[in-house]
Symmetry: C2
Subunit: 334 residues, 2 copies
């Protein structure tokens, strides 16, 4: 191949909030594919909060990105060359890897996408990892029942938007928490939630009392911090906390204490975490469920697209600061 | 009837640890039974940590004992008189009520006991509420699997002893935490746990590292406080915390903060509370399972019996201080 791969590597481990200098750009030749491998030119990179965890050495559920290594993400790409019979040049596939313009992957790790089924970028958002996350957490832990009150934090984000809509479809009253008036409008007008709380402008406790007069039965936890502290005492008996993430502390070296767990006994609460990568085998189930809902408008989504590999570090830092609005993607020129 | 009921009422709400003056003794005539009612002379009163919650006005899962009201407990009694065809004088039944010598109850609320099946006092302990508590929490939340490590706090107590034995029967390595060398010996030698930790004499963190070299898969929470703080960071991926009680803080007006919940996401933890009174309908299931194991020695138990109604307040205060050793009962003279 004569292609050049432009990529972003981890130059040093961020301390607290990452800064652009934590990353470095490199150019390397794209290697020839081995038997069974496919060369992808990336069309979209997915930026997600979990990637912050990979930049640290702290013990987690996945290995950290090594210093000098390509920063991890999932990507959608077009096949440039293939030594796997299932893929031909021009095909589009989910399963590329990393903050870079190209990747060479075993064909068996890729999922071929049909652009007629849905825009291929949705394989990184509503029909991909974030959507599957919402589906798994709501099905397995949240288990929303008709008439219950469900509160979703980071409600305009890629996961929260789907989680809340699934609860609406289950017949729940759904309250979204988001940062800023525009996101709150989106949560109500586009996603169809019953109410929204602007955590930047409102007193959380008072806003929860106003929007959840019957208490809270399911809390979708994306953020931790002050939102968790305000929600916890308002959980009803038998409430479920779906522990998806706690982005508010991803940059903290020394996380603050949490709630006293006495109410967990008294109210028979269930607080349960999950990691979507344990559940990849359910992606086909989710896509079969969600793609028709996406086409007929029962499921809405929003993408926040930045252009070009150079924009990646700043967009990622913005994500950790809550500055994205919808599923954050980097689009690379074809 | 010419019988006199001697009873203990709540004189004032305890502040922190109860003291004897929070209670008062009274004598009242035993009323005649109405149609369908049964008069019981109590043989055994059950003293349990949950009763502390009933003495406070704080919102809980059950109404508080009113000032001047009889302090709540479950009891086993002998039928003195009956206007329910299912009970005859001389029968023994579970379902009496309160820190008192007699009660008059609807027969439909009573369970007739067969003294040949097991000593009737066990209906308040291993074959009663504490045993059912252990069964429900382990079956529904703990779900111990062969080869896992299970840590049980208050391991020599009425609930902990059964919880740990059920985990042993499931093929787990079981470590009990108890207060004092004598209780720790009992936990190992009588209950058959693999190891015991004396929380009064040992550094909890070091002792857990020593006794749980492969981490902790199930934690049975009876106590909260320092034990919870030492166990939490040692939970393995997919560990379950069975939230049965937090006796260490039952007398605290202002409970301390709990653990930061970040690991709940990362380790996919499940922290779930339950209240056995939601599950009374499973008592027959538990008795059918446990009574044969009690007879053939697979299930061991220990009772700590104090004599006479006058001993009740001090025994209850001792329970809250961890001074009982086994299921705490008050025996009343026939």
């Amino acid at each position: 191949m004569t292609e050049t791969n432009r990529r972003i590597v981890l130059r040093r481990r961020p301390v607290g909030m990452p800064v652009p200098d934590d990353f470095a750009f490199e150019e390397v030749p794209v290697p020839e594919p081995a038997e069974g491998e496919v060369v992808l030119k990336h069309l979209y990179l997915s930026l997600d909060p979990y990637q912050r965890g990979r930049l640290s050495e702290a013990k987690s559920y996945a290995a950290p990105v090594p210093i000098g290594g390509v920063v991890e993400c999932r990507a959608v790409g077009r096949v440039l060359a293939s030594r796997d019979g299932r893929f031909a040049p021009g095909d589009v596939a989910l399963g590329g890897f990393g903050w870079q313009t190209h990747s060479v992957m075993p064909g068996r790790q890729l999922l071929k996408l049909d652009p007629a089924e849905a825009p291929v970028s949705t394989a990184l958002g509503v029909l991909g990892m974030p959507g599957l996350t919402a589906h798994v957490g709501m099905s397995d832990i949240g288990q929303p029942k008709k008439g219950e009150t469900v509160v979703v934090s980071a409600a305009s984000g890629a996961v929260g938007a789907v989680a809340g809509q699934l609860a609406r479809l289950a017949g729940c009253r759904v309250v979204g928490i988001a940062g800023g008036a525009e996101k709150c409008r989106f949560v109500i007008e586009t996603l169809g939630f019953d109410a929204a709380i602007d955590h930047r402008a409102e007193d959380l406790a008072a806003a929860l009392d106003r929007t959840c007069p019957d208490g809270i039965d399911v809390y979708w936890e994306n953020v931790g911090g002050a939102v968790q502290a305000a929600v916890f005492p308002r959980l009803n008996d038998f409430a479920r906390m779906v522990m998806c993430g706690m982005i508010a502390q991803y940059n903290d070296a020394d996380p603050p204490p949490g709630p006293n767990l006495g109410p967990v006994v008294r109210k028979r609460l269930r607080i349960q975490g999950f990691i979507v990568s344990d559940q990849w085998h359910r992606l086909a189930e989710w896509r079969a469920l969600a793609a028709p809902m996406l086409r007929d408008g029962r499921l809405r989504h929003r993408e926040d697209v930045v252009e070009g590999l150079e924009a990646t570090p700043a967009a990622f830092i913005g994500l950790l600061q809550g500055r994205n609005f919808g599923k954050l993607l980097v689009r690379l020129p074809e």
